[in-house]
C-alpha cells in the first residue's frame, strides 16, 4: 500500500486540478484576444446561425446617471445602432478596439452612432488621466475626435514615457487647435468635471474595466468585441430592431 499511496495522492491532485480547470473554463465564457481570429473566425456577415447569434442572450437595458453633457458623439441621432464606449486611452485592449470600432463605423455608416465616455483607470494607468484631459481639452475646441484618434493611434509612442504632456501638446499643434487655450483647459475645471461625470455614469452602469461597450443600452460582452463577432452582433441588433 505504501508503494501505491504516493501515486494515489498524485492522481487525486491531478484530478482536482483538471476538474477545477474544466469547471472554471466552462463557467467563464471563453473569449479570444481582441482583434484575433476566433476558432470560428470564418463567421461572415450572413452567418445567422453563428454561435454569437445563438449565444447572445440580451442583458437588460440600463440607463445609469447622465455623463458629461454634451457627450462626444459621431453619427446621426436617429441611427438604429447606438454604441457607447467607456475607454481608457492607456489601456492596450482599448487601443486594439479603436480601429475595430472605426471599421464598424465605416461598414455601417449612418446606421451607427458612437459615443465615447472617459473612463481613465487611475492609478493603474499613470497617464490615463492626462490623456483623457488632453482629449477633453481638444474637445472644448471642437476637435475631440481628432485628438482621440491621435492619442489612440500613438498609444505605444507615449504610454511608456515619463512626461506625456509635451507629446500631447505636439498632437494639439498637429490637429491645429489653439495650444495656449488647450494648455489652460487641460488643467481647467470644465475638463475635470466632464471626466468625473463620465466616470460617474460608468460606475452607475456597472463598468468595471475598459473597453466596456454598450449597444442600445445593453452591454456587449467583452468576448464579442473582436471585429468578426461585433459585426454579427450589430447585424443581429439591426435585424431585431433593438428588441
Amino acid at each position: 500500500m505504501k508503494r501505491i499511496l504516493p501515486f494515489i495522492i498524485i492522481l487525486v491532485v491531478l484530478g482536482v486540478a483538471l476538474g477545477s480547470a474544466w469547471y472554471l473554463t466552462r463557467t467563464i465564457p471563453a473569449s479570444p484576444t481582441l482583434g484575433s481570429q476566433s476558432p470560428s473566425g470564418s463567421q461572415t456577415p450572413s452567418s445567422q446561425g453563428s454561435p454569437v447569434a445563438q449565444q447572445q442572450q440580451k442583458p437588460p437595458v440600463v440607463q445609469g446617471v447622465p455623463g458629461a453633457d454634451p457627450p462626444h458623439v459621431l453619427g446621426p441621432a436617429d441611427a438604429p445602432i447606438k454604441i457607447e464606449e467607456f475607454g481608457d486611452f492607456e489601456c492596450p485592449p482599448c487601443g486594439i478596439f479603436h480601429p475595430i470600432l472605426q471599421q464598424m463605423h465605416q461598414e455601417f455608416g449612418d446606421k451607427m452612432q458612437i459615443t465615447f465616455r472617459e473612463f481613465p483607470l487611475v492609478p493603474t494607468h499613470q497617464h490615463a488621466l492626462a490623456a483623457a484631459s488632453a482629449a477633453e481639452a481638444a474637445g472644448l475646441q471642437g476637435k475631440f475626435w481628432e485628438m482621440h484618434d491621435m492619442i489612440y493611434e500613438h498609444q505605444n509612442d507615449w504610454k511608456k514615457e515619463f512626461d506625456v504632456r509635451p507629446i500631447f501638446e505636439g498632437y494639439a499643434k498637429q490637429i491645429g487647435i489653439d495650444v495656449e487655450r488647450y494648455n489652460r483647459d487641460m488643467n481647467g475645471e470644465l475638463v475635470a468635471q466632464r471626466i468625473f461625470a463620465d466616470g460617474k455614469r460608468g460606475h452607475s452602469l456597472g463598468v468595471k474595466g475598459t473597453p466596456t461597450v454598450f449597444m442600445n443600452g445593453r452591454e456587449v460582452p467583452f468576448e464579442n468585441l473582436p471585429a468578426e463577432k461585433l459585426r454579427v452582433v450589430i447585424q443581429n441588433e439591426l435585424r431585431s430592431g433593438g428588441k
Binding site: 491532485v13 486540478a17 477545477s20 471563453a30 479570444p32 481582441l34 483607470l121 468595471k208 474595466g209 467583452f222
Partner: protein, 141 residues
C-alpha cells in the same frame, strides 16, 4: 529532511493553483480587459505569455504539478527522484528570473500572480536545493 519535501509539496500546490488561475485567465481572456485592480492585462496579452502556441501559465502549471509529484515520491522514499526534482526547480528558477526581467524591463508591467509564482519558485529553490545542502553540511559537522 522529510519536512523539507512536505514544504516543497505544499509550495508546489500553491504554485499549481496560481498557475492554473493564470491559465484560465489567459484562456478565457478575462485579464485581457483593463481593470482598476488588475496589472496582468499587459503581461498576459504580451507575446511572451505564449510559447509555441501554449500559454506560459499552462506550462507553469505542468511544472508545478511535476514538482509536487516528485516531492511526494521523494517523501515516500523513491530513490534518485530528488535529483530530478532539484534539476527541475533550478530550471524553473532560471525561467522565473528571465520572466521577472521581461516584466521589469521589456513589458514594464507587473502581474501580481506572476510575482507570486516567482516567489514560490524561489522558495522551492531554497527548500529543495539550498536547505538540503545546509542540513547535510550541519549533520556532517
Amino acid at each position: 529532511m522529510r519536512k523539507l519535501y512536505v514544504v516543497a509539496a505544499l509550495l508546489a500546490l500553491v504554485g499549481l493553483a496560481d498557475a492554473l488561475y493564470l491559465t484560465i485567465e489567459h484562456v478565457t481572456g478575462q485579464s485581457v480587459r483593463c481593470t482598476i485592480i488588475s496589472g496582468c492585462s499587459a503581461v498576459l496579452s504580451s507575446p511572451y505569455a505564449v510559447v509555441a502556441g501554449i500559454p506560459l501559465a499552462a506550462l507553469g502549471a505542468a511544472a508545478y504539478f511535476t514538482v509536487f509529484s516528485l516531492a511526494i515520491l521523494t517523501l515516500f522514499g523513491y530513490p534518485r527522484v530528488a535529483l530530478v526534482l532539484r534539476a527541475i526547480v533550478i530550471t524553473m528558477f532560471a525561467i522565473s528570473v528571465w520572466l521577472m526581467y521581461l516584466q521589469a524591463f521589456v513589458i514594464r508591467e507587473f502581474c501580481q500572480y506572476c510575482l507570486l509564482s516567482a516567489l514560490i519558485t524561489t522558495a522551492l529553490l531554497v527548500v529543495t536545493v539550498i536547505a538540503p545542502r545546509l542540513v547535510r553540511g550541519g549533520a556532517s559537522v
